[in-house]
Subunit: 370 residues, 2 copies
């Protein structure tokens, strides 16, 4: 049964509007702290969690990597710190301006923008690193201070959103308006969720299968919001998936190719990456990898290719990775190693174009919902 859910006003857009305010406030507090240091006659300094590998731990509770308690201090008293500290203060100023002016930027763009202020970065790696420092100090991902990824992915389904970006405030769009999907960019990231009849989210790695699912009306027959990641999900897409799970309480099912790379696309959505150990807003620990599993290659007799040396090396790494500790993951890795085969989502077309939607999808959802 399909029920249109009007979201409680208490819940509506609660996350994003407030989030920008919180981040803006935190940036201002950072600036005030530096000023206070100077007023007191002491050297401005900042203390933040260390991101060195020795301070990265896997948290069973959060089901993601987190930073430990080790901290570092950057002080203007230390000549070696002057450069990164200055860069960080400028970066904080710049992203604060972005929020205030309701503009967005990218990592590459921030690197060039610095030159407009005579702030020098040796290369983009240096400015990227300072932005990660700022994420660590503020405790929020860079998307929250308007630095977005270049990559895009798309969404399709019955969810009405309301924009908060300039020129579009208050305007609404139902995300089933365009069958090719609408892009997940800055405007969607900051939009409020208004109304939906969906009761689940299906995330798909491949464009071909995303289009198949739209054409076969999976959004209608399975009450699902469909998301296309275009390979590894960009950060703003992971953030959007988390919002669908947290704010709307929708279960998330992820479909990828059956190989270590596909598994890991699902895992990064679920438990994030070690690179983002300083953030907790990009993961969806309750999301489920719904297939294609190694066991599906056998159970559904799917056309497959042999694993190559790189695949096998990668599987060995995943086997030892704490994120893959769960018995289901371990079992699937073991099956991959045993059958030495991999296969793609499109492999189901071997049984006709609609097989994946008519047989595999309902069977798998039933299994996972049980």
């Amino acid at each position: 049964m399909k029920v249109k859910i009007q979201l409680q006003s208490a819940r509506k857009g609660q996350s994003t509007t407030n989030l920008k305010d919180i981040v803006q406030k935190k940036l201002e507090m950072l600036g005030e702290k530096f000023c206070a240091d100077i007023d007191r006659g002491s050297f401005p300094a900042i203390r933040m969690k260390s991101r060195s590998t020795s301070n990265i731990f896997y948290s069973q509770e959060l089901r993601q990597y987190v930073l430990g308690d080790a901290t570092i201090t950057r002080s203007s008293r230390n000549i070696a710190h002057l450069r990164p500290l200055t860069q960080m203060i400028w970066t904080a100023y710049f992203v604060h301006e972005l929020i205030k002016q309701k503009k967005t930027s990218t990592l590459r763009d921030v690197y060039y923008s610095a030159q407009a202020y005579d702030i020098f970065f040796k290369d983009q790696a240096e400015s990227d690193n300072i932005i990660t420092d700022l994420e660590t100090a503020i405790g929020h991902p860079r998307e929250s201070f308007n630095v977005f990824p270049e990559e895009r992915s798309a969404v399709f389904g019955d969810l009405t959103i309301e924009y908060t970006v300039p020129g579009y405030e208050g305007r609404r769009l139902n995300l089933s308006s365009h069958p090719d999907g609408v892009m997940i960019g800055p405007a969607l990231t900051d939009a409020k969720f208004i109304e939906t009849s969906a009761d689940k989210v299906i995330v798909i790695e491949k464009g071909a299968m995303f289009t198949r699912f739209v054409e076969e009306k999976v959004y209608e027959n399975f009450n699902a919001i469909l998301i296309y990641t275009a390979g590894q999900a960009p950060r703003s897409t992971r953030y959007f998936i988390r919002r669908l799970n947290r704010e709307l309480g929708l279960p998330i099912y992820i479909f990828t190719d059956a190989d270590p790379w596909g598994m890991h696309i699902a895992m990064v959505i679920i438990s994030g990456s070690a690179n983002a150990a300083h953030l907790t807003e990009l993961t969806t620990p309750d999301a489920k990898w719904a297939g294609v599993w190694a066991s599906d290659i056998i159970d559904y007799n799917l056309p497959s290719d042999r694993l190559n040396d790189r695949d096998i090396k990668r599987l060995k790494e995943l086997k030892a990775d704490p994120r893959y500790g769960d018995s289901h993951w371990q079992r699937q890795i073991d099956i991959f190693m045993k059958i030495k085969k991999k296969c793609e989502l499109e492999a189901f077309s071997r049984y006709g174009l609609t097989h994946i939607v008519e047989k595999y999808l309902p069977e798998r959802l039933k299994e996972l919902e049980a």
Copy 2:
């Protein structure tokens, strides 16, 4: 002045609706020809243009590569031809079914689908090649028989379209409904153009600049439809750009990074590739590469990087390429070689986030419109 143009009904969607009918008819004629051969007691055969490199020529008139007059014949009388001929007949049958059932597919998906019919392809390269044969025989790109690229790009601007895909027939969308852009996929490719106030199309290689252009209201201040190619434009995006130029008479301006790879993104939109010499529906010869030019690096004093060996090798290839025969292209290649520098679209941020929109864009458009 901005005028809303209601497109003449004679023009509305003329291209696509009829195109599908034409392609369907051509596929049926192909089948009837084989049947007639058999009825007459002769071996079924097909004759088509040769795609060997010795039969690929550059046409100054069409400003693209075209096939010459050499033909090849595939006959079931020849044992060596039986396999590719059978594969081609199946492929023609399969894509005819796609059109009839209003479904879409991808190259990868066709490869797997063949297995459902016990048609054997050694690998995807073999099935891809047969699809190109079919394009050659039919004279239309694979998108016209519903085999779409996996890659997606996006569009934003004041253009109202009307869908023709199942479940959406007659529904309309204005392409300025979603500020992050809507995807250019099968549904948009086959949509009718209804109404627009735009008087130009601006094509952008980078997501960061596409978003900047939306945020700075380029669509409003310059009456432009904005297209984001995400690097090399996927074929369906090139087809969509051609439609905007041909059906709506809109000039096309392409902005890329200032390097040989960026130039070539523009060139493939304008004059296509040698791989697609058998097709004329994917090019827009009147589209213009609007920047970033090598001369802009000097004129606008842009931050730049040194050309590497690969860049220089590529520039030498382009210098000798017949598509680059025009004096403007030749001059820009010479400047690249002389200054040995390249730069990115984002480099304008060196003068502030809005510099590219407030200074560079109006100056360049004025120059090109003159």
